[in-house]
């Protein structure tokens, strides 16, 4: 194992939640998010021996889970299922009930809109706005030109704007 590279178990414990969150934003439901996160961690275990910590670890993890998602979509042409009303563990406790309900409603609405985007547009938007990757990092992760990333993010946001208006 190269120096400075965490063990697989450290990655699972420290970044498992991150992987799950990205997987959920891409897949749109908990069952597929759990499968994706688990598959991604298996890939991580195989890849850690050769991992070169040049970029951020979370960027690398996001790339793995995103590519797994797109592979799965291409294989199954699965459409994301938006699981509404299943957010009992999304928000921390203690907030007023109406605030919690409003926040859930808002999150559900945005997630539902994300789920209606084409897979490539959703992936670009999630990698940019959920994961926080730069256009160049997204291009590298997806194996596409930066201009295509720019186009997908813009079109994805434009569609979200219409869906949320």
């Amino acid at each position: 194992m190269p120096d400075g590279v965490p063990t697989w178990e450290e990655v699972a414990r420290e970044h498992g939640r991150f992987l799950y969150n990205v997987a959920y934003r891409l897949a749109g439901n908990d069952a597929d998010a759990a499968d994706l996160a688990q598959d991604a961690l298996l890939r991580v275990r195989r890849g850690l021996d050769t991992y070169q910590p040049t970029g951020s670890l979370e960027g690398w993890l996001a790339r793995i889970v995103t590519n797994l998602f797109l592979d799965d979509v291409r294989r199954r042409r699965r459409k994301p299922v938006v699981a509404l009303g299943d957010h009992e563990h999304v928000l921390p406790g203690g907030a007023a009930a109406d605030e919690v309900a409003a926040a859930r409603s808002l999150s559900d609405e945005i997630q539902a809109a994300l789920g209606k985007l084409g897979d490539e547009f959703r992936t670009a938007v999630v990698l940019c706005d959920v994961v926080g990757l730069s256009y160049e990092e997204i291009a590298d992760a997806q194996g596409i030109p930066v201009g295509t990333v720019r186009s997908r993010i813009h079109r994805g946001r434009s569609q979200l704007r219409e869906l949320l208006s």
């Binding site: 939640r17 799950y20 759990a34 808002l106």
Partner: protein, 162 residues
């Protein structure tokens, strides 16, 4: 003659999201800035895109179900152990197969090596057998076999049958 086309209106509008994200180069940033200063529609669209972007960015982290990470780690450990067992079993099987292959090769070599011993002589010798046959034929009044020149051995010279 090929006419070179400039960027379409959609291409130009794609500048807006990249402008918002600080992903334009210097020349593109200047172009987008000039357009925004002059075009109210562009400014309205930029504001709308910013709102959408901020809403997505404000999504709370989706927590995995309780115990999910522990389950993943346990599954990973048992999978690692299983893989390790599989590797050891494969290595044992490979060693066994290699030993069998080596033994088979040794046996094959033993059969393939040409013998350095002299061939076992035919008993009785062919010439002796032929002579014996001729003698018998002569004693039995066989006209064909009598054509073969053969001396009648002394031991059978009494003219009787052997």
């Amino acid at each position: 003659m090929t006419e070179r086309r400039g960027p379409s209106a959609d291409d130009e509008r794609e500048l807006l999201s990249a402008y918002l994200d600080g992903e334009l180069d210097e020349a593109e940033t200047a172009r987008a800035g000039a357009r925004l200063a002059a075009d109210h529609g562009w400014r309205a669209e930029l504001d709308a895109l910013r709102l959408v972007r901020d809403r997505v960015r404000s999504l709370p982290e989706r927590e995995p179900p309780a115990g999910f990470i522990d389950q993943l780690v346990r599954a990973g450990r048992s999978d690692l152990a299983r893989r390790s067992d599989t590797v050891h079993a494969t290595m044992r099987r490979t060693r066994r197969l290699a030993a069998i292959a080596a033994a088979a090769a040794a046996i094959g070599v033993a059969f393939a090596v040409p013998s350095t011993e002299s061939p076992t002589p035919v008993r009785p010798a062919i010439d002796e057998s032929a002579d014996g046959h001729a003698v018998n034929a002569a004693l039995a009044d066989d006209p064909i076999s009598q054509l073969a020149p053969a001396a009648i051995p002394a031991s059978t010279g009494d003219g009787g049958t052997p």
